[in-house]
Amino acid sequence: MAVSESQYESGREPASEDEESVEARVGWRYTVARIKRDTTARWGLYIVTVVLFVAVYAVVDSNLSRLTFGVASDYTFAQLLPIFDHPTHIPPPGEGTQHMPPYFPLAEQSWNPLPAGGTIEHPLGTDHTGRDYFTRIVYGTQVSVFVGLVSTFIGLTGGTIIGAVAGYYGGRVDDILMRLVETVYAIPPLILIIVFTVFVGGANIWYAVLGVGIAFIPVFARIIRSRVLSIREMDYIEAARAAGVKDRNIIMRHVVPNSFAPVLVYATLQIGVTILIVAGLSFLGYGAQPPTPDWGQMLNISHGYMHSNVWLSIWPGIAIMITIMGFNLFGDGLQDALDPRIED
């Protein structure tokens, strides 16, 4: 039945217009281009970039961290900026004579009326111990972003491994893993994390991050698993098995890369959620501990001083809101950009 002449196809078939545009709708460069075209996604990207920049800046600039942890009111925001003529030496905490005790009772508040801000020294005022509030907010970015990224990474990695293994092997492995995961899923995350941190050794930002990561493993595991269930039926998985590829390599090289797009989107959205949850934990006293400035913990402390200076509660709230909004907008945009079916 074969045609008699063995004429090979020409090398590059001219793909039809339609096909080409669908095919072109995948790929990294195209994704970036789509994000740039989408206004909300673009703003998300801007916000995320600024937040990340500030977070990195807070790590590099040692002056900032001294200012943040220092307790004397005369270490000011202005000292950060070279345009103001200031003595460059900033004594580290514990040195010098002027700093105040790290904690003083509420009754003594009147002794140090909290500056309301609006000055070049303290654009956002100072907190109850006289530390510059703006630098603390800036430093808090680092904590929040770090917390969001690390705990999402823990959830993502754990969830991907569990979901991919459960989905790929199926049967009893799937049953056992998924029932375990669902057990974790059934417990409200905040309670789970609080119990976890208390159980492993008390309030500590590391435990909180780990706890949040674990609490979100189930969500990622379920998303990955459902993708893997369809991916594993693909012929290229069967072909890899027939070629003698190890199961571990099949999962890492073939199953996970093809199941990853929806999880990536979810992870971006999840960063915002984890920041919020850790802020909540810190507010409740289970997350970051003083003197580390964390937005949630700053909210916790500042609510005792609401009558003196309500702004102390508002600024961390705004910081949290902007950061989460950035990640959410970016996540939404990424979702649209990665979905080739959505037209611009």
Binding site: M1, A2, V3, S6, Q7, Y8, E9, S10, G11, E13, E23, V26, G170, G171, M234, D235, Y236, E238, A239, A240, R241, A242, A243, G244, V245, K246, R253, H254, P257, N258
Partner: protein
């Protein structure tokens, strides 16, 4: 036959244990593949062709299991069973371990070309990268060497401009081109046997023709044996040396290709041939085979084809025929599993035809009660005692 064949399958039985019952997907098939030979495995969808071919690599997925039979490849036991001390069936000691199968047999000795070239390549990696990785893995070459081999293989299977196409992704290839890549992948490790699981079904006929020519050419060059799984008798006639026809998990006819086409011995093969257009025959209308293939979960009694068979007689309902040598062609056996041949000697000629045999469904055929079938009779005993040749 001269020497030990490359691959010998004896009485292979693969079953799927589902909640609704045991599906006997492959029910005791025997065949062999010699070196440099293209052997066809033909049958309708659901006949068990793919399960049979995947059993050769022990790639049957849960809930499926190879429950019996023996597969010998180059003297090594891929599948083998024996009776344990407690009378339980157990795997033989000389059976290759899963690890050995994976590292030595799959890819290196027996490669597979799958049906759908669109789905057989991973969309997230370049074509060249996948081919290279496969060669690296199975031949233990360095990355640079493997790349050279990969590009050579792409050129070998007729992909123009292989250096450039090496860097491209599967979606930039057409179906025919992708099938060429898969053939390159299968040939890359110079296996002795390639299982081609309906490799041209997803392609249009012109491309199919090109691929078949390519396989023919490469087969002559490398001397690789092929197990060609297909439902297309036209392709079989074109390419195969010997053919096995499967129906409902069993091989019903086994013969060299010319013999099968010109001296058909089984009514099912006859029916298949009548249902396709043939260049050597002119008919007004093609005959379809009546009815559909029954489920392998509850196969008909006796000959499994009898509810659809135009030649069915009462005896066909009772006697289950195994494939027996019914003729010879140039020293090759021609086996068929049909009691109308004299070797079976179960009284086919005296048996009355089944009422409305062909065209009635299995349930209706089951209602036609024969006095003999109620009482135990010598014929059915005989069929029970019948073994393989």
């Amino acid at each position: 036959m001269s020497s030990e064949p490359l691959l010998r399958v004896e009485n292979l039985t693969t079953q799927f244990f589902t909640e609704t019952g045991t599906v006997r997907a492959v029910d005791g098939i025997s065949f062999e593949i010699r070196e440099g030979e293209i052997v066809g495995l033909v049958g309708e969808s659901g006949a068990g062709k793919s399960v049979a071919s995947m059993s050769l690599l022990r790639l049957v997925e849960n809930p499926g299991e190879i429950v019996g039979g023996e597969i010998t490849y180059k003297g090594e036991t891929i599948v083998g069973f024996e009776e344990g001390p407690d009378g339980e069936r157990r795997e033989r000691d000389d059976m290759l371990s899963n690890e050995e199968i994976r590292t030595r047999i799959r890819g290196n000795e027996i490669a597979v070309i799958f049906q759908d070239p669109m789905e057989s390549l991973n969309p997230v990696f370049t074509v060249g990268g996948q081919l290279r990785e496969f060669i690296e893995l199975n031949r233990g070459l360095s990355e640079g060497e493997a790349k050279t081999v990969a590009i050579d293989m792409l050129r070998e299977v007729g992909i123009p401009d292989p250096e450039q196409r090496y860097e491209e992704y599967p979606h930039q290839f057409s179906g025919g081109m992708r099938q060429r890549v898969l053939i390159a992948m299968a040939l890359a490790c110079e296996p002795s046997l390639i299982i081609a699981d309906e490799p041209t079904t997803a392609l249009d006929v012109t491309v199919e023709g090109q691929i078949i020519d390519l396989v023919d050419e490469l087969q002559a060059k490398y001397g690789t044996s092929f197990l060609w799984v297909t439902h297309d008798l036209g392709v079989v006639a074109e390419i195969c040396d010997r053919v096995n026809v499967m129906y409902l998990g069993e091989i019903v006819e086994q013969a060299p290709v010319d013999e099968l086409f010109y001296d058909t011995k089984h009514p099912y093969t006859d029916a298949l041939l009548n249902s396709i257009p043939r260049p050597d025959r002119t008919v007004d209308e093609l005959e379809a085979i009546e009815g559909v293939m029954p489920e392998a979960i509850d196969p008909p009694s006796g000959c499994r084809f009898h509810p659809r068979c135009p030649d069915a007689r009462a005896v066909c309902k009772r006697v289950h025929p195994d494939a027996k040598r019914v003729a010879d062609a140039d020293g090759e056996p021609h086996r068929a599993a049909c009691v109308k041949h004299d070797v079976f000697d179960v009284g086919y000629d005296e048996s009355p035809p089944l009422e409305g045999a062909a065209g009635t469904d299995r349930a209706a055929a089951g209602d036609v009660d024969e006095p003999e079938s109620i009482a135990p009779n010598p014929a059915s005993d005989e069929s029970g005692g019948e073994g393989h040749e």
